[in-house]
């Protein structure tokens, strides 16, 4: 059973790995420009696995920022993982031990979270390990290659590969809309709001990290008040999810 979940995780994680190689490759190029060696950038990617956080870190390292600035920047950019971790705590197999939780937490990225939270009836740690064990090497490999040789992969191919992650996100959120029209409305509103905040002029244009957090909290919060999930139908709703 564990083995089955693990291999399903690997299979489902292929689009993440593809997208990660592409995005991490451009990260690797940026790392080289910031003065990092391939070893440094690869260590950074393996230990952090966060694209926005790592891109921001490169700027800070290059400019010789203080460690406090680094910590504060990472806190703000990556705060969304906190909400994701909360959501995951309610979907994860309640029997999953403390040690499993320590390991899984390491792999909470936008993509691995998105895939895991919608994957199984009773989410086992092994499914997440499967996803992690294909996605994280992809992230590390892309970073390493990008730092070593920024023109190894043609730009057009990289751009197309980076679409894989968005395609995966769409494949996660669209099918449940067929059974639950509230979700369809919610997703449309979310995308419209996201576009609105992205194209707003000047100070209203938030950084991507903040935009994700604020919109997620506000829109999910309003939806929770307007359309609460009934306690009795909890199981049913997980089916939809």
């Amino acid at each position: 059973m564990n083995k089955k979940s693990y291999f399903k995780g690997i299979r489902d994680g292929i689009p993440i790995a593809l997208g990660y190689i592409a995005v991490a490759f451009t990260l690797g190029i940026a790392a080289k420009n910031a003065g990092l060696t391939a070893l440094q950038s690869t260590v950074m990617s393996i230990t952090n696995i966060t694209s926005a956080g790592e891109f921001a870190a490169l700027g800070l390292i290059a400019s010789g920022a203080t460690l406090l600035e680094m910590a504060a920047t990472q806190l703000i950019i990556n705060l969304r993982y906190c909400i994701m971790s909360c959501a995951l705590s309610q979907r994860l197999d309640p029997k999953a031990s403390f040690w499993h939780r320590l390991l899984i937490a390491f792999g909470i990225t936008d993509e691995i979270f998105g895939l895991s939270i919608c994957a199984e009836q009773n989410l086992t740690p092994f499914y997440i390990y499967g996803v992690m064990s294909i996605a994280i090497p992809g992230w590390a490999l892309g970073t390493c290659l990008g730092t070593l040789s920024g023109n190894l992969l043609p730009a057009g191919l990289l751009r197309a590969m980076s679409i894989a992650i968005y395609g995966m996100f769409i494949a996660i959120i669209v099918p449940p809309c067929k059974k639950n029209r509230i979700l369809a409305v919610l997703i449309t509103v979310s995308m419209a709001a996201s576009a609105g905040f992205t194209f707003l002029p000047g100070p209203a244009r938030l950084s991507p990290g903040f935009r994700i957090i604020i919109l997620t909290v506000v829109i999910s919060g309003i939806a929770a008040v307007l359309f609460p999930i009934k306690e009795n139908s909890g199981e049913e709703n997980h089916d939809v999810l």
Binding site: G19, L60, G64, M70, Y81, F98, A160, A171, C177
Partner: protein
């Protein structure tokens, strides 16, 4: 201006990021009973993935059109079939081929 060792920066950022990820997952061990919080956490993935996908996907290709086509195709494929891998690869191929023809 002080320049720290790069690995020290990496250590700090890794520690902060890991703490953000690990605290809720290890501290919240029980099922939350509050309906509003449960509902909130149920809606979170849909909202957050939608916000991350659009409009970010539109700037993934050199011009907006291949990405827009890939976005619409992914929605249609996801609605009809829903297979994760097929949707992801279909969107990639559409973007790649369209971008190639536009660049001709």
């Amino acid at each position: 201006m002080t320049y720290y060792n790069t690995y020290l920066y990496i250590l700090v950022m890794a520690a902060v990021t890991y703490l953000i990820r690990v605290l809720p997952l290890t501290l919240i061990r029980r099922e939350i009973k509050n309906t509003t919080i449960r509902s909130f956490l149920y809606y979170v993935p849909y909202v957050t993935l939608a916000v991350m996908t659009f409009p970010a996907i539109l700037s993934a290709t050199a011009t907006i059109w291949p990405a827009l086509a890939a976005f619409l195709l992914a929605i249609i494929l996801a609605w009809r079939d829903g297979n994760l891998f097929k949707v992801a690869i279909g969107a990639c191929l559409a973007a790649f081929i369209l971008e190639f023809f536009i660049s001709l």
